[in-house]
């Protein structure tokens, strides 16, 4: 089968690889119909995540048709069209029982902090992902969800990660009616976080980024006040001034490890990799939120240490909540939001690219060329 093949930072291609097979009684093999490149795939692509091995296939956002199931999978059959949450979760361990499906304890030998994730380095379990014609799906009796007949597959594939992640960012923030919410990052997750903030009753939503076309896309999807931080003297001072000197009620970090905006963070985190990426968006979130406010983090950071202003967290009495989205927990609610039109995920798709052109797709997304917001990959024959 044809599959993406990582060859090192900034280098990917499509090669022939062995077909995935059932390796556990709860596995399924799925023929991929849609997959996406996620903003967090770019952290892998840029060599930011430890234990990203040459030869691995990325892709944690995909849906597809069930080809084969293992003997312990009784609720799926060949031919079912499923969306596959990016978390690989058993559904029965200590953490899954609490709905923390991003923290499953039975899916990742290499680390305990995070559960297994499709195509997301060996730090997240060493699984091949869905940027391929076929993928192995462990715990197939628990994770995959049959796509409703009425749902567009373009909406379905975005429910595997980006929509739940944006929604959980707003949920973890505990938004109260009328709150001022600031979202750092106007990528797909930031856009969805801004959209979700309205669903929780925010009174004002502000999105910060440094790329104008991304900010324009927020205005049409969310809609929110948008600001390019390169046009601001000081992001934090601006936020204080625009919120009566108090700060925002809630700040959401939807950027993660590769934030632009600080030379020091760029050198230490992005170039020398001595910390888990540049944490400047998180700095701004902590310093822009009001005392007693909430900072919600869904931007991906690596596992090494960070220079984070923890003293300000203490002195301001902040609540910080963060996690990988527990997709399976949120799906019933989000499917209903798509059905009723509260969220229209496919509107963020900007590029549809054949799998064989994956190197171009990664480069376009990484370098923000051609006004790219969200690329969807189509395997041959899909």
């Amino acid at each position: 089968m044809r599959a993406m093949n990582y060859r090192g930072p900034y280098r990917v291609r499509v090669d022939e690889k062995a077909m995935p097979r059932i390796e556990h009684p709860r596995d399924a093999v799925v023929k991929v119909t849609r997959s996406c490149i996620c903003g967090s795939d770019l952290h892998l692509y840029h060599g930011m995540v430890p234990d990203t091995r040459v030869g691995q296939t990325f892709g944690h956002e995909f849906c597809g048709i069930v080809e084969e199931v293992g003997p312990e999978v009784e609720n799926l059959k060949a031919g079912d069209h499923v969306l596959v949450p990016f978390n690989i979760a058993c559904g029965q361990c200590h953490f899954c029982k609490q709905g923390l499906f991003g923290n499953c304890h039975e899916s990742n030998p290499q680390a305990t902090a995070v559960g297994g994730i499709f195509g997301y380095s060996h730090t997240a379990g060493g699984y091949d992902g869905g940027q391929a014609e076929y993928a192995r799906v462990p715990y197939a009796d628990f994770g995959p969800t049959i796509i409703p007949d009425w749902m567009d597959p373009d909406d379905a594939v975005l429910l595997t990660d980006v929509v739940p992640t944006g929604y959980q960012a707003a949920e973890m923030a505990g938004i109260q009616k009328g709150d001022t919410v600031v979202v750092f990052g106007a990528g797909p997750v930031g856009i969805l976080a801004a959209r979700s903030a309205w669903l929780f009753g925010a009174g004002r939503v502000i999105v910060i980024d440094h790329i104008d076309y991304r900010l324009e896309s927020v205005k049409s999807f969310a809609p929110a006040e948008v600001y390019n931080f390169k046009e601001l003297d000081d992001v934090v001072v601006f936020m204080k001034k625009t919120t009566d000197g108090l700060g925002a009620d809630v700040c959401i970090d939807a950027v993660g490890a590769e934030a632009t905006g600080s030379m020091l963070q760029t050198i230490l985190g992005k170039r020398l990799k001595l910390e888990a990426g540049s944490a400047i968006a998180l700095h701004w979130a902590i310093n822009s939120v009001k005392k007693g406010g909430v900072v919600s983090i869904v931007g991906v950071y690596g596992p090494t240490g960070n220079m984070v202003p923890i003293g300000n967290v203490v002195n301001k009495g902040l609540t910080i909540r963060a996690n990988q989205a527990s997709v399976k927990r949120l799906l019933p609610k989000l499917i209903e939001h798509v059905r009723t039109g509260n969220i229209n995920p496919k509107a963020i798709i900007s590029h549809r690219v054949p799998l064989d052109d994956i190197a171009d797709a990664y480069h376009i997304f990484s370098d923000k060329l051609d006004e790219c917001i969200k690329p969807v990959l189509l395997p041959s024959g899909a």
Binding site: Y10, Q92, P109, T304, H363, I364, D367
Partner: protein, 180 residues
């Protein structure tokens, strides 16, 4: 709480104290007052490290397991087993826990070595990788010609300067013996 439930909640029952003897124990335990609610599901037995484990996947490739794990998780990926020099570095990294920088920095270093191994592996089986294509240069040409030309000009300038310096140094080295 019954003694049975108490035993379930304490990870090391031999060190359990009788909480009934602690004045006020549990009076503020209303989940509505808990900022972590509802993420922590208060089921009375959720401190237990035991659960009905899934069937164990058979390991047919070499796996590296975090020293923080009590057991091998039931399911795992088999994408790219450790191999070569980078594999040795990864095995070494897994001697340390996830809280240790040595663990992560060794893995990052192993990734860089692995990239070179990948190149050697390609050449070893007679495949010369099309690196510009793998890096998306055709897309750069389509969407950012000026940027690409600028990058090429900068690369050519740096390359030319370095070559010039090397040639100049070599020529100076050749002249020195005749001068002495």
């Amino acid at each position: 709480m019954s003694d049975t439930n108490l035993a379930l909640r304490i990870s090391n029952p031999s060190k359990a104290v009788d909480t009934q003897s602690i004045v006020g124990w549990g009076v503020d335990a209303d989940p509505q007052n808990d900022p972590t609610y509802p993420y922590r599901n208060r089921t009375e037995d959720n401190h237990s490290g035991e659960w009905r484990r899934p069937t164990q996947q058979e390991a047919q490739v070499e796996l590296l397991k975090s020293v923080e794990h009590k057991w091998l998780p039931a399911v795992f990926g088999t994408a790219s087993p450790p191999s070569g020099v980078s594999g040795s570095m990864r095995r070494l990294a897994f001697r340390w826990s996830e809280s240790n920088w040595a663990h992560w920095l060794l893995l990052i270093a192993a990734d860089r070595v692995n990239m070179i191994e990948g190149l050697v592996e390609d050449l070893g089986r007679g495949h010369v990788p099309n690196i510009p294509k793998e890096m998306g240069v055709p897309a750069e040409w389509r969407h950012n010609k000026a940027g690409l030309l600028k990058k090429l000009a900068v690369a050519a300038a740096i390359g030319g300067t370095v070559t010039g310096l090397i040639v100049a140094k070599r020529n100076a080295g050749k002249r020195e013996p005749s001068a002495s």
